[in-house]
């Protein structure tokens, strides 16, 4: 039967065959999670996503959120799935049991999230933010703050947000003007206006907990003077019961291109001088605290992009198998065939598949690295794995969300005219995906993060480790006769990539620094392309091995599909990456040199 959201066979291939995730159960903290249990968990998540979430996706988009006199109603149908999600204890499935979590491997959480977010992203955004906010409490909260908030957030009883952005402080967080006045009892009175707050106000939970960035009176300007506060919508009494309204007023929600089911709120804090927060972490260390959570938040956005991409691929693929239109080009006298038989449609499906397969592997790989760091007893290894995640983060956030738009747009195209209509989900996937390139740091900022920080972090050692891992996959592939040619192509690209990163670094150290900065985005792009080729070649190596064991017909089809996908990407797409690297090598400065007037329009 046709699958929705994600191909289960491919999920299992990546989890068990590529990454051998079940080996985690050799570690004590994951002992309960053998292959059988993992499959069961995924099957349950899939059931919930397909049967309950998908049917709410379009209604949520059409109904949207309703704002009226400070109150926001989420789409009606979200209430039922919120309860189901909460009852299933999905949100904290991978968190520390001591905090109320389920203690599962993070990798498995990623799979569940893929299914849930592919089913209804607007809905899952409420939960993703709650999780991020809870992690802030877990990491920086006092005993008291944890006691009052943590379990209720991780259980989904209360939801959470992140209050960073202000009208004049978007990418430039340091420009924020929200202030905190210290009260005699150690609490702070908060005043300020925040915008673009996803899930900032809604009726799914009785309380909403806002981590808020604000400046304590007298603190330095810029990011150095920013502190983090915990500000609930309703105050919480010492016994955990709800107290009075905390003067966090929703003044409106945005009309947006997509994600209509999630309320993007404008909030006024302390408009009546009555908004009280408690300090989370240390004074003036708010940015550092946020940065700790940033990796998770940015990875989550990449996962969101991937989830839409896989959902878009599955639906376009199913449509292409069913929709009959035009005769085959070699048999013009015969009748129409399913459009999956037309070369140009296959090309589009193949592009979608290549990214979906590779990006699934990339995301699971980040989970494996995360879990690996968690179980590692070797401090050096643990440190190295944590740095690897930092390298991967801008790739996951920036590259995957770029590709999500591309894949969901191909999804629309495969449907033809129908793809532009609301009769099918294709156009919603595309609309929903467009914000992902912007929020949690625009993709331009991700590119700067990769180039200016991650590549040179610890004198470039983590980056070299990253390259060494790709090299290892190339070596493994070289050892397979049938993959030698593909391995050689990736080797060439990898060699060229090292030259390019060296050139970028050298240019940035000289007087043409701006020319290098102007190439940060192209560099992120080629980094992502090479990562894609890496994951596909890795998959092809695993598939080649598996084919030696005389698998069943169905598995032969699957593994052959893996080989063809790697071949396609490496022969038909990777040469374009080489072209992109040659473009970077020109290190042209026209973008930097053109005068402002030269852009025209005056």
């Amino acid at each position: 039967m046709a699958q929705q959201i994600a191909d289960l066979r491919d999920i299992e291939f990546a989890l068990f065959e590529q990454f051998k995730i079940d080996e985690l159960s050799e570690h004590e903290i994951f002992a309960d999670f053998n292959k059988k249990t993992i499959k069961m968990i995924i099957s349950e998540a899939r059931q919930l996503a397909v049967k309950e979430f998908i049917p709410t996706n379009k209604p949520g988009d059409e109904e949207g959120c309703k704002f009226d006199s400070g109150e926001v109603k989420a789409p009606e149908c979200f209430h039922r799935i919120y309860d189901l999600y909460k009852e299933g204890e999905w949100l904290a499935m991978a968190d520390d049991p001591e905090s109320g979590g389920g203690g599962m491997p993070y990798s498995i959480y990623l799979v569940a999230n893929e299914l849930f977010m592919g089913g209804n992203l607007s809905f899952m955004l409420y939960n993703g933010l709650t999780h991020g906010a809870a992690k802030l409490v877990e990491t920086f909260g006092t005993v008291k703050q944890k006691e009052l908030f943590l379990k209720k957030m991780l259980s989904g009883e209360w939801s959470g947000t992140m209050l960073l952005t202000e009208p004049e402080a978007g990418s430039d967080v340091g420009a924020l003007t929200s202030t905190a006045h210290k009260n005699d009892d150690g609490t702070y009175s908060i005043t300020g206006n925040k915008i673009f707050i996803s899930g900032g106000e809604h009726d799914l939970t009785e309380n909403i907990i806002h981590p808020v960035l604000a400046r304590i009176e007298g603190a330095p300007a810029g990011t150095k003077g920013i502190s983090l506060f915990l500000v609930p919508k309703y105050r919480v009494n010492d016994d955990g019961s709800l107290g009075e309204f905390n003067d966090v007023v929703c003044t409106g929600i945005e009309e947006k291109m997509g994600l209509h089911g999630n309320a993007t709120a404008s909030l006024t804090l302390g408009g009546k001088g009555n908004c009280i927060g408690t300090l989370l972490g240390e004074e003036n260390k708010g940015m550092r605290a946020m940065f700790v959570m940033m990796n998770e938040a940015r990875q989550l956005v990449g996962q969101q992009g991937f989830s839409l991409a896989t959902a878009a691929y599955m639906s376009a693929l199913n449509y292409a198998r069913e929709r009959v239109q035009s005769a085959h080009i070699l048999k013009p006298k015969e009748g129409g065939v399913p459009i999956i038989q037309h070369a140009d449609v296959r090309r589009q499906l193949m592009i979608m598949k290549a990214y979906v397969d590779a990006l699934r592997s990339l995301i699971y790989f980040s989970g494996v690295v995360f879990d690996g760091a968690r179980v590692s007893q070797d401090q050096e290894e643990k440190y190295a794995l944590e740095r690897l995640i930092e390298i991967l983060t801008p790739i996951i956030k920036g590259y995957i969300t770029d590709k999500a738009l591309e894949v969901t747009s191909h999804g629309v195209q495969v449907y033809g005219g129908y793809g532009y209509t609301k009769e099918y989900p294709a156009e919603q996937y595309m609309r929903d995906s467009r914000i992902l390139m912007i929020y949690e740091g625009t993709n331009g900022i991700q590119a700067l993060d990769l180039f200016m920080r991650k590549l040179r972090m610890d004198n470039g050692k983590p980056f070299l480790d990253f390259l060494a891992r790709i090299q290892k996959t190339v070596e493994n592939a070289k050892a397979c006769d049938s993959l030698q040619n593909l391995a050689a192509c990736l080797q060439d690209a990898l060699n060229r990539y090292q030259e390019i990163t060296a050139l970028m670094g050298k240019t940035a150290a000289g007087e043409k620094i701006l020319n290098a900065v102007a190439h940060a985005t192209p560099l992120l792009e080629v980094t992502g392309d090479i990562t894609t080729a890496w994951m596909l070649l890795w998959r092809a190596t695993v598939a080649t091995e598996a084919l030696k064991d005389n698998p069943k017909k169905k598995d032969v089809d699957f593994y052959d599909g893996q080989l063809k996908t790697a071949e396609f990407f490496i022969k038909s797409m990777l040469p374009i990456t080489i072209g992109k690297m040659n473009a970077i090598a020109n290190m042209n400065g026209a973008v930097v040199e053109i005068s402002e007037a030269g852009f025209g329009g005056l």
Copy 2:
């Protein structure tokens, strides 16, 4: 002052400096249209577009079209601009005065259209279709049909459509099932269901004239048995007055991603056996008639894409000049600067500008070629120019609409979070543009048209002429010292392009034909890239010459901007095109060879 929709300086540069359009006035039929007159016409169009059309764009999107019991209401605010547009006699400004047209050069019509469509595309779609339908009447109509319909359509008193698509006949027009039964009086009774009819029903005009593709009873299957009929919504009496309702019933309109102001109607013809049409052209020659119009219709879609791109560029550019955010990377201690000063934002604006400039030139060039064919006294030259338009058509339709999505998406990104909201026009431009890659033949079909038909048309002579024109620009640039390097880069790309097209042709003639077909879209892409580089190098050559004349400061900025844009595209983008050609050269067949099951999801 900041400009909207399109940069007037650039319009005039392309028209007068690059293409010397005013020289057309040397020909008798265009004698009235000297530079001054042309500028006046453009100024009027611009006034109308900026002052009247832009303010209706967002309301039209929000209000959308309303369907109720067979009737469709266009957005309320469209009525006023419809009247203004009609009163200005804009629709037929370039048509034959004998048919009621204004007799202006087609090139000028293109400029007016750029401004109008950039102002409100949903609205202009009604007019574009009316024009296309009127051209069918003008070309194939009997004296009587012209008398009854032509002037009323060209004046905008009545509107027009195109009824091709049916639920099971989209790209495969030949699969249509609408039928025509010949009556004793020579008319035909039409029966059928048509879908995706832009402007198929609305309240802007008292009558709507539908050219309809249908099969006369007993006619052959496929495209060979298709005839074209003229079917008015209300019958037209011999004296031109309106008669009874013609049983063309609107059964609903589509909910779409964008273009909400234009009604995409489903129509049932002859549901009560009472729909009468007259044959337009000859029996069973309907497809041929449609193909005559197809070039104009497809070019129009490319123009639509360009219009959204230029409007998106202007609005993003204006925003980038005003929006202050973050310090300059070289002056981190100083305050925030307008984001146009940030390298990554400049990179995005430059990409937008490069496409907008080049595609404007490409579109005007097609106008110049069209007008050239019209005034040419030399049959051979006329024939060659008409073939050149045929070569350009899939590039204009396919490549420009691909780039329109890319440019409008960059437009969203420049706005950051605001770009995703409906507060600014960016997201609407992107939503509106997404259909352009699909309708009037998907871009995959454009790619097949270029590769399978246009390249080999007349034994490849028109294609060689096309290449020779690019070569000529390269030669002219080589003659400028300062452009030699850029010229050499385009020369390399052009040489490689010729190898690639030869390889594609050779492959298609052999047993790996499907491998070639699977590369039709990449071929269209590189054809478009090279065309872009061609136009930008041409512009740079003109700018270089102009700079020798000691122009005013403002003009120096403009011409320098042209040089930087060409430099950017040729040094930073064209190497990617070479990469794409190297990918094509691999002529990999994975897309063709992968089994259907190998795509997964089963």
